[in-house]
C-alpha cells in the first residue's frame, strides 16, 4: 500500500462515508446520529475483516514504524470504524418493527460471518451482499410501503403482505435523494474496504504449497 493511500485516500474516503451515512433528505436536511446498535455491528464487521485478513492493522501499527507512521495507522483505523458505523446507520431502518428485525438479523449474520470467515474475498463479498440487500430492503421495499402516494410496488407488496398492519412496517418517508446518497455512501465504503492493507500470507502459503517435505527440510 502506498503512502498516499494510507495518509490521504483511505481516511478521506472513510470520512466521506462518515459524513454521508447519516444524511436524510426530507422537507429539510437531517444529519441522523447513529444508533448504538450500529456501533456493535461495526465492531463485529471490523473483527470479521481482521480475522479473515481483509484488514491487517499490524501493517499500519507496529513497533518498527515511527510514532507519526503509527498515528497515521490509528487514523485509518479510527476513520474506518466511524465509516462502518455510518454505513450501518444508512441501511438500518429508522424506527419500528423493521428496525428491530434488521438489527437482530444483521447481528446474527455478522456473528456467522465472524465464525465462518475463511478468506478475504468471501468476507468482502459477504459484506457487499449484506449491505446491498439491506439497502434494497430499506430504500426500495420499505420506502415503497411507506410511500403515501402509493405505486405499483406498494400494491404488489400489500397483496403479498395481506393481514399485516402497515403501521408496524411503515417508515417516515424521505426524499428520493436519500436513497442516492445512501447508494454512494455504500459504494464508497465497499471501495474503501477493498483497498485496505491486507494480511500478507505469502510466506505461510509458500510453505503450504511446497508440501510436507519442505516443512521437514526446514526443520
Amino acid at each position: 500500500m502506498s503512502r498516499a493511500v494510507e495518509v490521504f485516500w483511505l481516511p478521506l474516503v472513510f470520512l466521506a462515508v462518515t459524513l454521508l451515512g447519516g444524511v436524510r433528505i426530507a422537507d429539510r436536511l437531517v444529519f441522523l446520529r447513529p444508533p448504538l446498535s450500529a456501533l456493535v455491528l461495526a465492531v463485529l464487521l471490523l473483527a470479521a475483516l481482521v480475522r479473515c485478513g481483509a484488514f491487517a492493522p499490524q501493517r499500519l501499527m507496529n513497533p518498527a514504524r515511527s510514532a507519526l507512521q503509527n498515528l497515521s495507522g490509528v487514523t485509518v483505523l479510527a476513520t474506518m470504524f466511524a465509516a462502518t458505523v455510518q454505513a450501518f446507520n444508512s441501511v438500518i431502518p429508522e424506527s419500528g418493527l423493521p428496525r428491530l428485525i434488521i438489527v437482530v438479523f444483521l447481528f446474527v449474520l455478522l456473528l456467522n460471518t465472524l465464525a465462518a470467515s475463511t478468506d478475504r474475498t468471501h468476507v468482502l463479498r459477504s459484506t457487499a451482499v449484506i449491505l446491498g440487500s439491506m439497502f434494497v430492503l430499506k430504500y426500495i421495499v420499505l420506502a415503497a410501503l411507506s410511500d403515501p402516494t402509493g405505486g405499483w410496488l406498494k400494491r404488489v407488496l400489500l397483496a403479498a403482505l395481506e393481514g399485516v398492519t402497515l403501521g408496524t412496517l411503515a417508515q417516515e418517508p424521505f426524499g428520493l435523494g436519500t436513497g442516492y446518497v445512501a447508494f454512494l455512501t455504500l459504494a464508497l465504503f465497499l471501495g474503501g474496504l477493498a483497498i485496505l492493507p491486507r494480511r500478507d500470507s505469502g510466506s505461510r502459503r509458500a510453505l503450504v504449497d511446497a508440501g510436507p517435505g519442505a516443512l521437514r527440510e526446514a526443520q
Partner: protein, 166 residues
C-alpha cells in the same frame, strides 16, 4: 517531500474533516447560510442585519407579526442571534394568543424559536431589556409557550380570565 511532513499534513486534514463532521452532526445546519452563520457564531464573529432587525421591531410593535418575522428572518438568516430569535418566538406567542383559545401550531413554532434563542445564548440565558414586553427572559417565554402547547384543548373559555402577558 519528507515522510514526516506528508503524514503531518494527512493527520491535520483528517482531523479537520472529522471535527467538521462532528460539528455538522451536532449543529444540524439546513442551508449554507446557516452553516456559515453557525460557524461564525462559534468563533464569535456573527453579526445580524441591524436594518432588517429594526424593521422587524417596528412591525412587531405595530402587531404586524407575519411581516415582523419576515424581517427578523432576513436579519438573522443563520438563526444564531438569541435576541432576534426571542422576538420571533414572542411574535408567535402574541399572534397565537386568543381571548378564548390558543393557536397551538403557532405556539409550537414559537417554542422552537425560543429553543433556538436559548441554544444560541451564552450559558442558555437570554434577557431582553424591552419596556414594551411583559416577559423579558427566554425562560418566562418558554414556560408560557409550553403551557399553551400542553393545554388539553385549544378552546378553553376559562382562558378569558387568564392574564395575557403581552
Amino acid at each position: 517531500m519528507r515522510d514526516d511532513v506528508v503524514r503531518a499534513i494527512g493527520l491535520a486534514v483528517a482531523g479537520s474533516c472529522f471535527g467538521a463532521i462532528v460539528w455538522v452532526y451536532s449543529r444540524q445546519p439546513q442551508t449554507l447560510a446557516e452553516a456559515s452563520g453557525a460557524l461564525s457564531a462559534t468563533i464569535g464573529v456573527y453579526r445580524i442585519d441591524e436594518q432588517a432587525f429594526a424593521d422587524g421591531l417596528r412591525f412587531f410593535r405595530a402587531d404586524q407579526f407575519a411581516a415582523a418575522r419576515l424581517a427578523f428572518d432576513r436579519a438573522d438568516q443563520a438563526h444564531q442571534d438569541p435576541r432576534t430569535q426571542f422576538y420571533i418566538a414572542y411574535s408567535y406567542y402574541r399572534e397565537g394568543w386568543g381571548r378564548v383559545y390558543v393557536d397551538k401550531e403557532l405556539y409550537a413554532r414559537g417554542l422552537a424559536a425560543v429553543d433556538r434563542a436559548i441554544a444560541a445564548a451564552p450559558r442558555g440565558r437570554i434577557v431582553v431589556d424591552d419596556a414594551d414586553l411583559q416577559m423579558h427572559s427566554g425562560d418566562e417565554l418558554k414556560a408560557e409557550l409550553e403551557t399553551g402547547v400542553q393545554a388539553s384543548t385549544e378552546v378553553n373559555p376559562l382562558t378569558v380570565v387568564r392574564r395575557h402577558r403581552k
